[in-house]
Symmetry: C2
DNA sequence: CATATTTAGTTTGTTATCAAACTATATGGA
DNA sequence: TCCATATAGTTTGATAACAAACTAAATATG
């Protein structure tokens, strides 16, 4: 059980947490929102303005294809608008709609208790300590990634 | 960027690490093995013997349906055998094949440098410190999960 | 200026994952 | 013994994610 290398055990634990956490959040999210969909809405409310799909792909570290799919689903729910970029014939501009803002508010309300429980169970200090180490791992993996396949 | 609750930021970081780490490992794994497939093979080599599919689903915290899929792919590659359980007409017994053992050895060799790099970049102590906190988060999410939907 | 290269976005095909529905066998209680 | 319930596995129908191939528009180079 513990003959596995340390880094492997950490990755393992991270994988399971990601899965359980994602499932727990999606169980309470309204409007059949998924975590990635919520995260995009949250971004627009917090930072406002408009973004291109490839901006968003870069920000959230997913491929362009993945972002295309997430945005299409959000647009189908009328939570974002996709407009042609007037400055670039290839580009698009994404912005949140009023319905999207409302869905984000409802999501925050639904998700807050779940997050609060985690914080209570693990301790705010422990979480705060975790964060920098996680960031280092992320930074390493990000840098080690060879040719960023597709403007991820 | 940091108005998000602590627990949310941690979950976010974990999600990205999971994704980047998974992709990095799968890039080097032989025989088109995926991480879940490798993890199952690794388990059999480390602990030996036979397991039922639902044992494996429980051990790796995935649903039975997910485990069915992973086992079918491993069987197609001839890396495991699936036998009827002589004691239970509903059950199956899974065990690794020689080819499976060989694939696991090759995988370990391929994956080791990637893990070593992570360990070097983050530091063994930092990883060791991370582990208990991660375990607490996992334990909480595991416990908070309502009716374990399907003998997950 | 014309062609080559890069960039923006989409599409395709594969795997993982979940929940829920379904089949078949086992077990428990009346 | 018989029926109800629980358990083992599979299947179905979603979403997310990747890589790779593809279209179209923009930029760079000769």
């Amino acid at each position: 059980m513990s003959q596995d290398p340390l880094a492997f055990r950490v990755m393992n634990e991270i994988g399971i947490i990601d899965q359980l956490g994602r499932t727990a959040l999606e169980a309470v999210l309204p409007d059949d929102l998924t975590v990635p969909q919520f995260v995009v809405l949250n971004h627009f409310v917090r930072l406002g303005g408009e973004r291109s799909p490839s901006d968003l792909a870069r920000i959230f570290q997913v491929t362009k294809g993945t972002m295309t799919s997430t945005l299409q689903r959000l647009e189908a729910k009328r939570f974002i608008d996709m407009l042609p970029d007037p400055e670039d014939g290839r580009g698009k501009r994404v912005r949140i709609t009023d319905a999207g803002r409302a869905a984000r508010e409802a999501s925050i309300a639904a998700v807050a208790p779940v997050l609060a429980q985690i914080e209570a169970a693990v301790g705010a200090e422990a979480l705060a300590t975790l964060l920098p180490a996680l960031s280092r791992i992320r930074a390493h993996l990000d840098a080690a990634r060879d040719g960023p396949a597709q403007t991820r």
